[in-house]
Amino acid sequence: MNENEEVADERVLEKALSRDSAPPEAGAAGTVPGSELLTDAVDMSIVGEPAILEVRDIGKTYGSIIALKGVSASVSASEVLCVLGDNGAGKSTFIKILAGAHDYSSGALLVDGVKRHFSSPRAALDAGVATVYQDLAVVPLMPVWRNFFLGSELSSAGMLKVRQMKAITKQELGKMGIDLRDVDQPIGTLSGGERQSVAIARAVYFGARVVILDEPTSALGVKQAGVVLKYIARARDNGLGVVFITHNPHHAYPVGDRFLLLKRGVSLGLYDKSEIAIDELTGLMAGGAELEALAHELARA
């Protein structure tokens, strides 16, 4: 009951917001379906099984700028949540909230069903939420195993436990399906996809239950992107919750269980894989109507 009232409120706000901030030509096409689908999103989060990480109606304002508004989604163990959106859709803000880099302004973030405010990335990590950023936080010239343990080295009496760290690195990478002949090779010599999965394996080893991947495939070629998708699936099969942020529906669709679409800081909806086909996904993401309009315009020119 209460929930519905809130949603109604959001819709009003939402429309007000879209009038203020959206350029007139895109306003109508972009936001009206968005606010309708929002109802579904909230319902889903209520029905869903105990999620590791959940956001309800979450929002973020920077001063007078509303970067994110009324977004709901959740991710459970062995599940991949894809967050899709074009540039400026609010993906970065969404990551920053989940990663603990920024606190949220409205709504709620729940870890294992308990409302939390992450004060820092460290706090998010302690709660089991790790973020793998695009630059992966690796040092190219350093050996794989040193990168794996960077900042969290194992040592006793001041001396590094080199043998143990090498063994663990090899074993953890093995779980991801990477069999390195030599964990002593500089990580810069690995392929982009392998480096990505080293970063994922590292996050998992250090206690992550949910890994947030920030555009892991965007800088990669087709083949390497495929490698990364394989590792994402592998991580999921190992019981990890994955939040996969991307602007490419073709990368998201094969591996995702659910799809959260963002546009201009609001949710266009949260879909189960069974509810949506890849064409619809692509269409929604690109703003199908806008694309059609563009096609007409280009055809005439």
């Binding site: 460290r122 950023y133 630059d135 992966l136 936080a137 690796v138 040092v139 190219p140 010239l141 350093m142 040193r146 343990f149 960077l150 900042g151 969290s152 080295e153 040592s155 001041g158 001396m159 590094l160 080199v162 399906g177 990477i178 069999d179 390195l180 002949r181 500089p186 810069g188 010599t189 690995l190 392929s191 982009g192 392998e194």
Partner: protein, 353 residues
């Protein structure tokens, strides 16, 4: 240079386009290997062309010569691996020597107290260099160039102001001098062979070993490679970036103090111009030893070998009775060669960035 493009059959999971590095590149990837080869060649060369190079007395001479540069080269190498420079390192050896000299001969301070004051001063300057670099984000090249000139000016001006001269005299009469000399300036003879081991050489070896262990086997070592290799990544993974870099500046300054003491207590005097110009030699030794100018790669042993090359060449040219200006030309050529090898190694190792 040709590289094998045959797919490594034993590593099926590797991308087939990822070529295996050939053995030569793999060997050169170890930062000290190239310098080691060069050191052996130079050793053989001077052993053949001069009579005194291989005599016990000759060996003592070039070992001692290498040791003073070696200690600093090792410290500078750590700093360079951490991604920074310290141009004030040379002047620091003069400053600390002069401080102890002035405090003891002019103000009658106990030599031990003077030693500690000079050490505290050196560490303070190191901390200052580090904190300025880290807080402002300015290149350490510029910041330490400033400190270098400040120290250089102070060394001359203050020494002249207080003593009226540009060198310290009468150190040997200072109470406790011989006690301190036993630690810093002793020369241990080995019978009638003519070989004598300076304590500086022992210090050099010990410091090289400590630096190597720290670099390869401690968390601090991992952090040094990380802050020099990719600062942002180091931050993101929780490496105490500021502490690591400031510690490195303090280590370099502390070693500057050590070398200042070693030369002061060896000869019992110090010139106000001591150490000026040596800062580049330290950097050259470190680079010849395989340190990358851009940070994140290198070794302490390599820098020690770089200094050994310098010491051998410096004395070898004297033994051969050549014009010692050849030293500079040789040094320049070694530096260029080392940088070219480094560049090649970096392209092999981190070229995917």
């Amino acid at each position: 240079m040709t590289t094998s493009t045959l797919p490594g059959g034993a590593a099926p999971s590797l991308d087939e386009r990822l070529k295996r590095a050939n053995p030569l590149v793999k060997a050169l990837r170890r930062p000290e290997v190239g310098a080691g080869v060069a050191a052996i060649l130079i050793f053989i060369f001077f052993s053949v062309v001069t009579d005194s190079f291989l005599t016990p007395a000759g060996v003592s001479t070039w070992l001692y010569s290498a040791s003073l540069y070696g200690i600093m080269a090792v410290a500078v190498a750590l700093l360079m691996i951490g991604g920074e420079f310290d141009l004030s390192a040379g002047a620091m050896t003069g400053t600390t020597g002069l401080m102890v000299g002035v405090l003891t001969t002019w103000y009658g301070l106990s030599v031990w107290v003077a030693l500690i004051i000079a050490l505290a001063f050196a560490l303070g300057i190191g901390f200052f260099n580090g904190i300025i670099v880290m807080k402002t984000g300015l290149p350490s090249f510029i910041v330490t160039l400033g400190t270098f000139f400040i120290l250089q000016g102070i060394n001359l001006a203050v020494t002249k102001l207080i003593t009226g001269q540009v060198a310290i005299q009468g150190m040997t009469n200072v109470p406790g001098y011989s006690g301190v000399k036993a630690i810093f300036g002793e020369s241990i003879g080995f019978g009638s062979s003519g070989f004598h081991l300076e304590t500086a050489v022992i210090w050099w070896v010990v410091i090289t070993i400590i630096a190597t262990v720290v670099l390869m086997r401690t968390r601090a070592g991992n952090w040094i490679f990380a802050v020099g290799g990719q600062l942002q990544s180091a931050r993101q993974t929780g490496v105490p970036v500021n502490r690591t870099k400031i510690g490195l500046f303090m280590t370099t300054a502390g070693c500057g103090w050590l070398v200042g003491m070693l030369s002061l207590f060896d000869v019992g005097t110090v010139q106000a111009t001591t150490g000026i110009g040596d800062e580049f030699i330290y950097i050259i030794c470190a680079v010849v030893g395989g340190c990358l100018l851009t940070g994140g790669f290198g070794s302490a042993a390599g820098a020690a070998i770089g200094a050994l090359i310098y010491g051998m060449t410096l004395q070898g040219i004297v033994f051969a009775q050549w014009d010692n200006n050849w030293l500079k030309a040789f040094l320049g050529a070694m530096l260029l060669l080392a940088v070219l090898i480094n560049l090649y190694v970096r392209r092999q190792a981190g070229g995917r960035e």
